[in-house]
Assembly symmetry: C2
Homo-oligomer: 364 residues x 2
């Protein structure tokens, strides 16, 4: 194994969801999983067996410390509960491990700042696991609609991430498991991130939770929330973001601009792994006598060429490219990714704060 | 011409938009335009010529009064500016004319109540011109998604009506022309009505305009507004409605329920006159490892059979059916249509009031 060409991953946390990452790494040509860890050695062993990770090539640890002390590990993927991510992310950075952290990467912006600073001072890459940003469709929309001018200036956005949780589980969603922001962090991370992405990471000037939209369980965890984000500068734009554990699965992203509009209903995870599409109109008008439109939506389909170019594969590819470059000494850690995380977290925090103060406006 | 089988229409107002109505009546077999009127006789004459209305069969009046005194007119279609509709609608009802009134039918609920009372006491039908409610697609969605249970209980709605007005025209949108509610009445009528339709006309318990969304011109006319509508009872539901003269054309209606969701981007006026579609998912979940969905959106296409069954034709058909029945003495005026108008107007008024009081909550 060529040390400079292969990034050796360790897993911090063996939750079921981490199987997707294992699958992606297994299919890649320049990354490998060499260690996994969980506070429960039994959980780690079960995970290894379920994911065909052979004890001959993968070391199984019963604690995060042990894995972080393994000098052969280049990079770690953190999937433990959000309330523990801050502590372990900082420790991992101090051990010179590059960090891929499930979203939300921290409980709040202060904690995230500590992680990012630890990464900077230790020269390691930080990236959160917002996979859709890496999808080829996302890149295609940027080129097709934004760069080309077909969309014009963004004026209004509507974006959601809702996924139902069984009623008996809702009460078990504690702040210890979910973090203080509850659904705003766990789910709202996506629509808030989508609005920021559409605004090319210009920050909103203010946010406000919509009072009628906020629901909590009996232990005070936020289960559902809508918020409006107001963007300023020369032109104004508004985003409505909605997240909920109480609704049917929805991952909608609608962007209206001064010239056109974009529609997707599967921006977080595309319906299919090997192909994805979005629809747009540009220069739409009612025809004479208002009996129809001058256009119908155009569908742009992106062929992802199978699993090897899935959004997970593309994220891994970008992360590995950066880690390889840093290992070779050709690159410095790319500050774009922590910056995207930081801005997203700041808006998550602001929405949470608005909920806390009775859905009043919070200025950023 | 059989008096009981043909409804004889008169036009109150000869704006360009009325051409669509003329076209629809001309294509129908049981309605005819026998008179048109405008405060400017010249405008009426020009309209007649442009729409092939021959002076041999259509009387052209230079005032609304004259047309309303024409005993051969059964029903009138009102298209004059909203600020004049109340006065003329009441006068028309007193003259025993059945009323088809462009939306919004009045400046506020009080004025609408006067119109509806005048219609009731004179035994004439009232209907506002919200055409999409009559589209066969609208009926199909009700059957396919609501009645069947595929949607489940409505939880969240997002709906828009935005259409750009040239910058030089924006300043000319006065309250005299647009009514006090501005864009909320002219455009917001649609998304507010769509949310009510989705809730089977259950009224919201509260509404709130979103402060960051409200824009006015220099004379104080509301040009843009978003609002949240909170529905109560056993289950709660939230609607986000958005209307604007400052954005690209959009007419989105997204409904998320406990089991499924519905998407349309052309609910007000379908892209094409002869066919229309909507998309839905039901029972959607991410598949194992979250690498895709268990379903992709289903598209349901409704063939409208050409212009003869366009949404305008379907609205006219319903209106004519009621007027014919009343003329024959078989039917009483159908209270369902004024009730839909009344509820829509009450919510329009509540959103307008929320804007007026600094975007505070207004309870209904």
């Amino acid at each position: 194994m060529d040390d400079n060409k292969t990034v050796r991953f360790g897993l911090l946390g063996c939750i079921r969801f981490a199987s997707k990452f294992v699958r992606t790494v297994t299919q890649s040509t320049n990354a490998v999983i060499i260690a996994i860890s969980d506070p429960s050695l039994e959980t780690a062993k079960t995970f290894a067996a379920a994911n065909n990770l052979s004890p001959e090539t993968v070391t199984i640890y019963g604690s995060y410390e042990e894995l972080l002390n393994d000098a052969s590990v280049d990079a770690v993927y953190l999937t433990m509960p959000v309330t523990q991510r801050g502590k372990w992310a900082v420790t991992a950075a101090e051990k010179k491990k590059h960090l891929l952290v499930e979203k939300p990467p921290a409980q709040d912006a202060t904690e995230l700042e500590r992680i990012v600073e630890a990464c900077e001072s230790n020269g390691v890459q930080f990236m959160d696991g917002t996979i859709w940003l890496h999808h080829q469709r996302t890149v295609k929309i940027r080129e097709t609609m934004f760069d080309s001018g077909l969309l014009g200036d963004v004026r209004h956005m509507y974006t959601t991430m809702t996924t139902p949780v069984p009623e008996q589980v809702l009460e078990r969603l504690t702040k210890e498991a979910m973090g203080l922001a509850g659904a705003i962090g766990e789910l709202g991370w996506y629509p808030i991130g989508a609005a920021l992405w559409a605004m090319s990471y210009q920050m909103p000037i203010s946010v406000r939770a919509l009072p009628s939209s906020v629901a909590t369980n009996s232990v005070g965890t936020i289960l559902s929330c809508s918020a409006s984000l107001q963007f300023g500068s020369t032109e104004t734009a508004t985003a409505i973001v909605h997240c909920s554990f109480l609704s049917q699965l929805s991952t909608d992203l609608a962007i209206s601009g001064s010239k056109g509009s974009i529609q997707m209903n599967d921006y977080v995870i595309p319906y299919k792994e090997d192909t994805a599409w979005f629809e747009y109109t540009s220069g739409a008008k009612f025809v004479d006598m208002d009996i129809g439109w001058n256009v119908t939506p155009e569908r742009v389909t992106v062929d992802c060429g199978g699993t090897a170019e899935s959004q997970e594969a593309m994220m891994l590819r970008e992360f590995v490219r950066l880690v390889q470059g840093i290992k070779r000494g050709d690159l410095e850690a790319d500050q774009r990714w922590p910056e995207i995380s930081r801005k997203t977290q700041l808006v998550v925090d602001a929405v949470k704060k608005s909920v806390d103060i009775g859905c009043e406006v919070v200025y950023l």
